[in-house]
Structure formats: structure tokens, C-alpha cells
């Protein structure tokens, strides 16, 4: 395999020679090598805990990579069990509920883009 690499890079002009089937085979091998599935980023995230994860988040934020989510993605996360756990430090206040209400209870399928049954107040 190493020999194949060397041959390719030492004879670059042969890339343009389409009649050279030997080189075609070599190129395919190289491509196959490069197309190995990448390790998903998610695996990295899930294996990190505590400080390492926080460091990752801070690093992401500081690199000016904007973390953006679509409405649909955010709503999808509302369905996970984590979303209905009560936060540890909620004040005792009339607007705070003891039991979680379904995030999507009011809005059903969430397809507001197609919902024409409501309009803002128009003067």
C-alpha cells in the first residue's frame, strides 16, 4: 500500500493518463482508504463528563462558532424525559408549577408555519 502511495505521488503526470488502468486501480484504493467512516462527534460528546465537557462547550463558544438550532430541533428535545425534570433551584412563586406541563400541549404538532388560524393584532 505504501508503494502505491509513493508511485502515485512520484509520478503525478500519470493521473491524466486515462488509458493507464493500473493507475485507475491505484486511485480507487486510495479513495477507499479515505472514505473510511469518520468517528461521530456525538461519541466524543457522550464520553466526556464534568469539567471536560464544560471545557468543550466553552471552547466551542470562544471559537466564535455560533451554536444555532432550528425550532423543530429544539421542540424535538422537549420530548426527552430530561426536559420535564424539575430544576433544583426554582423559587416558590405563583408562576412556578410543581408538576411539569407538556411543552407541546398547547401547540400540538408544532407546525405553526402552516397554521393560518391565528393572526396578530393588526391595526
Amino acid at each position: 500500500m505504501l508503494g502505491t502511495h509513493c508511485r502515485l505521488y512520484s509520478r503525478p503526470k500519470t493521473h491524466l493518463n486515462h488509458s493507464d488502468t493500473r493507475m485507475e486501480v491505484s486511485r480507487r484504493r486510495i479513495l477507499q482508504k479515505h472514505l473510511e467512516p469518520a468517528r461521530p462527534l456525538r461519541r466524543f460528546i457522550h464520553t466526556q463528563i464534568g469539567k471536560q465537557y464544560v471545557a468543550f462547550v466553552q471552547c466551542t463558544r470562544s471559537k466564535m462558532l455560533r451554536i444555532s438550532y432550528t425550532r423543530e430541533f429544539l421542540i424535538e428535545l422537549a420530548r426527552c424525559p430530561e426536559a420535564s425534570k424539575k430544576p433544583c433551584f426554582l423559587p416558590d412563586h405563583p408562576v412556578v408549577l410543581n408538576k411539569a406541563v407538556s411543552c407541546l400541549e398547547s401547540f400540538g404538532n408544532g407546525g405553526y408555519f402552516h397554521d393560518v388560524l391565528w393572526f396578530p393584532l393588526v391595526k
Binding site: I45, H46, Q48, I49, G50, Y53, V54, V57, T60, R61, R66, I67, S68, Y69, T70, R71, F73, L74, I75, L77, A78, C80, E82, A83, S84, K85, K86, P87, F89, L90, P91, H93, P94, V95, V96, L97, N98, K99, A100, V101, S102, C103, S106, F107, Y112, F113, D115, W118, F119, P120, L121, V122, K123
Partner: protein, 233 residues
């Protein structure tokens, strides 16, 4: 503006119903516990949990309500506004949101505020003082849905205006509800135009919807000569 309480007057346009009393009174009324609570909240920085989806910024939920039967002049806006909690990830946001009543279920003269952590929902905050807000007035029955769509767009960084967004407010009033989104630089027309266009898109507003931009400087000026219960902005 020498003192932050000087400008804390009434404004029904989606944010304040602030203090008409003397500045010193307002400061005196602030209890030690409240100061301690606010200092503590400044020190604690929420972070995303392991495996959670981090947000671009941390945010804080606030709630304010004008006490029924008491004239606004006796209250300090700053005293009247309560922190509900801060969050740093999508999952943490839903935990708070699912444990709070919906704006449409609020009664009386109430506001929910969702601001970036460290920014108070006040005109006088350093992040807000040069800024302004887009205001949309809604007929009754729409506040919950519009508020949800607005804050999801804000948390999801859909406005694409860099650091400009400060926060969002939903105000429940007698005959209508108001939602608004605050930004840092009122003079930046490109930014305010982009915020307006994004609002139209994420709220699915009809083309003829009236949208009003109001600078906080104007809000302060306008509120000075007006009684707190005088109504429209």
C-alpha cells in the same frame, strides 16, 4: 440620567412598569436578602450538563407583576422583578419552561422576561442603554404561542445579528398582549432591519402587521411626563 431609578417610569410597550417613587426610597426598600440573592446569582454560573445541548449564551428567566390595588408609584421596578432561574443548555431551558405557567394563563399586569445572563431587563442596564426594541401587539389568545416561537428563535440563534440580541419580553395587559425583543444598538439600522425580518419569519406574521421599533431613550423620555396607569405607549 444620574440615577437608574430616575427613569423607571411606566411603559406599557412590552417591558417596564417602573418606579415612580423617589430614587432613594427605592434603594432603601431593597432588603439585604434580596441583595444577597442577587450577588449570589451573579457568582453562580450555570453550565450545560454532560451530554446536553449547549446554547450560545446562558439566559435568565425573570417575572414581574404590578401588585393589584397598589399604585405603581410605591414600587420599585427593580424590586418588583423576580429571577426565576438561569440555564445554559436546551435541556435546562425546557426544564424551566415546563415548570412555568404560560403567558396566556397569566392574570393581571404581568411580564415574563428572558434575557441573556448578566443583562437585567431594564433600560438602564449597560447592555440595553443604547438599544431599543421591536414591539408587536397581539390580540388576546396568541401570547403563549408567539412567546414560545420568539424565545425558541432567540435561543436557537436564528436572528443572526451577532451579539446584538439582549432578550425578549411578553407583557400581559388588559385588552391585549405585547411581545418585544430588545437589542443593544438602536442606531444600527442593518441589525434592527434583520431582527424585524426574522421576527416576521419566525412568528409567521402577516405582511400588514404593524411592527414598532422604540429606542429605550425614547421610552425613558416618553415615560417621564406620564402617569404610570396612563395606558398606551
Amino acid at each position: 440620567m444620574n440615577n437608574k431609578f430616575d427613569a423607571l417610569k411606566d411603559d406599557d410597550s412590552g417591558d417596564h412598569d417602573q418606579d415612580q417613587g423617589s430614587p432613594k426610597d427605592g434603594e432603601k426598600e431593597k432588603t439585604e436578602d434580596e441583595e444577597k440573592e442577587q450577588n449570589t446569582s451573579k457568582k453562580k454560573m450555570v453550565v450545560p450538563g454532560a451530554g446536553e445541548h449547549p446554547l450560545q449564551y446562558n439566559y435568565t428567566f425573570w417575572y414581574s407583576r404590578r401588585t393589584p390595588g397598589r399604585p405603581a408609584s410605591t414600587q420599585s421596578y427593580e424590586q418588583n422583578i423576580k429571577q426565576i432561574g438561569s440555564f445554559a443548555s436546551v435541556e435546562q431551558f425546557w426544564r424551566f419552561y415546563s415548570h412555568m405557567i404560560r403567558p396566556g394563563d397569566l392574570t393581571g399586569h404581568s411580564d415574563f422576561h428572558l434575557f441573556k445572563e448578566g443583562i437585567k431587563p431594564m433600560w438602564e442596564d449597560d447592555a440595553n442603554k443604547m438599544g431599543g426594541k421591536w414591539i408587536i401587539r397581539l390580540r388576546k389568545g396568541l401570547a403563549s404561542r408567539c412567546w414560545e416561537n420568539l424565545i425558541l428563535a432567540m435561543l436557537g440563534e436564528q436572528f443572526m445579528v451577532g451579539e446584538e440580541i439582549c432578550g425578549a419580553v411578553v407583557s400581559v395587559r388588559f385588552q391585549e398582549d405585547i411581545i418585544s425583543i430588545w437589542n443593544k444598538t438602536a442606531s444600527d439600522q442593518a441589525t434592527t432591519a434583520r431582527i424585524r425580518d426574522t421576527l416576521r419569519r419566525v412568528l409567521n406574521l402577516p405582511p400588514n402587521t404593524i411592527m414598532e421599533y422604540k429606542t429605550h431613550t425614547d421610552s425613558i423620555k416618553y415615560s417621564l411626563g406620564r402617569l404610570p396607569w396612563a395606558g398606551e405607549c
